[in-house]
């Protein structure tokens, strides 16, 4: 039968508390993984990788990171671009200093560096709340971008002020540099994304996640029932920045290859990822995926229609795209403020009762 709990008996505690308690969901999850790992790498080419798949995978990581902070812990942050830049510059410095270490380790280390910076900028969140905090995180955004732009040590004194990723190999395949195949890039990002998603999902339904949600719903009340706000807020900042740092590192090393901080990690990036989180659904891992997919696919789709089909000049198409994205965001917020994840939840509820809704 379609989407039923009936007949699916749980006999152990492990089975009872699994992520996908309904068999249909579980099958869907395995099929998705199978397609992502088994089918897509065989058919992917450079255009699809750079236009759709890589941005989607990387933004999904960043969106999961930001969703932990905004959706689960309730601390609004506009500093995502700056934290991504920390990840990118950390991975660049690490790769140029220790070229022999596998890149996966560098990416994870870059995540830890970003987590440390995130905790530093998260400290004021103990005093500052709501919109004041959102604006305060702008300090992180502008200060970090300025720092990477002005301090030559970060870009190894290169004349252009750009950072360019060195070639690196893992298990005999190129992961970064011009010789990398689309498949290798895709698989590398996919593996990290799956890892991030599993960790995030399990963190958010465990003790830490419950503490974050208690703080989000009302921090004073949470404090009274014994949640340490210092602990909860700073772990949220640390975990979130860790993921965002990884996303920044991948964005620079695997996707762009060369980056200029004021272009690649500016304030627009912060807003873009915040949009992904809001449109996808606050406090939902699935929502992060959905939001990232939506905002990656929409411009590609619009560009194909406006420039490819109607033959309009590209600058006009870019302006129209801005209008359409803006209007869609507003329309989306009006129609479903809880995002795509909520639509999905409602659809599942309906599906459970289908075809006998009464």
């Amino acid at each position: 039968m379609l989407y039923r709990e009936a007949g699916d008996f749980k006999t152990t505690y492990g089975e009872d508390s699994q992520t996908f308690p309904i068999r249909f969901d579980r099958m869907g999850y395995y099929v998705t993984l199978l397609v992502a790992f088994g089918v897509v790498p065989l058919v992917i080419n450079d255009y699809w990788a750079s236009a759709v798949f890589l941005p989607f995978l990387i933004y999904a990581i960043a969106a999961i990171g930001l969703n932990i902070l905004v959706g689960y812990a309730g601390q609004v942050s506009l500093g995502t671009g700056g934290f991504m830049a920390v990840g990118a510059y950390a991975v660049y410095k690490l790769m140029t200093s220790f070229p022999d270490v596998p890149i996966l380790i560098h990416v994870l280390l870059a995540g830890f560096v970003t987590a440390a910076v995130g905790v530093l900028f998260g400290l004021p969140s103990l005093r500052i709340k709501g919109f004041y905090l959102a604006v305060a995180t702008l300090a992180a955004q502008f200060f970090l971008v300025w720092l990477f732009n002005k301090a030559p040590w970060f870009y190894n004194y290169s004349a252009s002020g750009q950072i360019t990723v060195p070639q690196s190999k893992m298990l005999g395949f190129y992961i970064t540099g011009p010789q990398t195949s689309a498949t290798a890039k895709y698989l590398f990002c996919l593996i990290i994304l799956v890892g991030v998603a599993v960790v995030a999902r399990n963190l958010t339904r465990g003790t830490v996640g419950r503490k974050w949600m208690a703080i989000r719903d009302m921090d004073i009340a949470a404090e009274i029932i014994g949640v340490n706000p210092l602990n909860a807020k700073l772990t949220a900042f640390a975990v979130s920045s860790f993921f965002i740092g990884i996303a920044g590192a991948l964005f620079f090393a695997v996707y762009l290859g060369a980056a200029e901080v004021t272009e690649a990690f500016n304030i627009q990036k912060s807003f873009l990822i915040l949009f992904m989180v809001i449109i996808g659904g606050l406090g939902s891992i699935f929502g992060s995926f959905a939001g990232a997919a939506f905002l990656v696919l929409l411009p590609v789709f619009l560009k194909n229609v406006l420039v490819g089909q109607l033959g309009w000049p590209t600058d006009l198409a870019a302006h129209l795209e801005l209008m359409i994205v803006g209007a869609l965001i507003v329309a989306f917020l009006i129609a479903e403020p809880h995002g795509i994840a909520q639509l999905w939840r409602l659809a599942k509820e309906k599906l459970r009762l289908w075809p006998f809704p009464h």
């Binding site: 500052i128 004041y132 300090a139 732009n149 309009w312 000049p313 994205v325 507003v330 917020l333």
Partner: protein, 337 residues
Amino acid sequence: MPDQVLYAIEVTLNGLMTGVMYSLVALGFVLIFKASGVFNYAQGVLALFAALTLVGLQNGQVPFAHVINATFGTNLSTFGWHLPALLAILLTAGIMVILAIIIERLVLKHLVSQAPIILFMATIGLAYFLEGLGDVMWGADIKKLDVGLPQGISDTIERVTDGWFGYGFFIDNLDIVATVVAVLLVAALTIFSQYSKQGRALRAVADDHQAALSVGISLRFIWVLVWSIAGFVALVAGIMWGTKSGVQFSLSLIALKALPVLMLGGFTSIPGAIIGGLIIGVGEKLFEFIMSSPDLAGAWFGFTIGATENWFAYVLALLFLVFRPQGLFGEKIIERV
């Protein structure tokens, strides 16, 4: 007086003038936040849109010329007239009112009682939309805005200060005009909100939505009103900034500079917006002056850094808020369980 002190005074004066410009944008934020609790990110884009519309009307540009040409293969550009500045300003103000009505109808009405973050995101969406609309309507090139305001360095001040100190201060005429306009604007807003019927209603709504509704004040009318006023303030800010640095996309980025101004002053206080603007303006100019001068920072710290204006305001606001979370003049935040 030693040269460094004179330079510092000049920098301070210029900082005050820049601060006034920031305050003009911040003012629109405060008005909307007080009346509807919406944190209006689109305020900067409203200023951009107003300035674009003003230039377009003044020069008789055909709206949507670019789209029409692309679709029908025509070659439209202007109607060929040139409107007087005052008429164009009045027409633009009218368009801002219409825009306020449309925003209320299409966006705000449907988002009543949503969480503040949702409303905030909606205004970001609105900002994207208006930015695209402005570009599509009037074209994205940098435009010169001239409504007859005096520009250039003020000769009088240079001559007088030269006589006093032996060093002439460079102050932009436009900045002086902006200061006068800002003072007039604040005075007008204060009188309006204190003495007119609508102004009282506005303050009542700001105080308590529910209570205001229960004594028969129409919330929707107040929202249109306050967005119209914010649109008008945006028009003034757009004229000032547009005359100063041309009408271009970066105009919408000053909105971001207005945010730390708000934080310093407190989101709910009009005098706070002004004083916050002045503090930020002076602070960032002085800091930049000190940190980039080889004689000062170079002598004290052994190094100089430049372009600190990008982040100084935010870091200052951040540090300040750690000690006073509600800003200088904001309402004290009382938390209850």
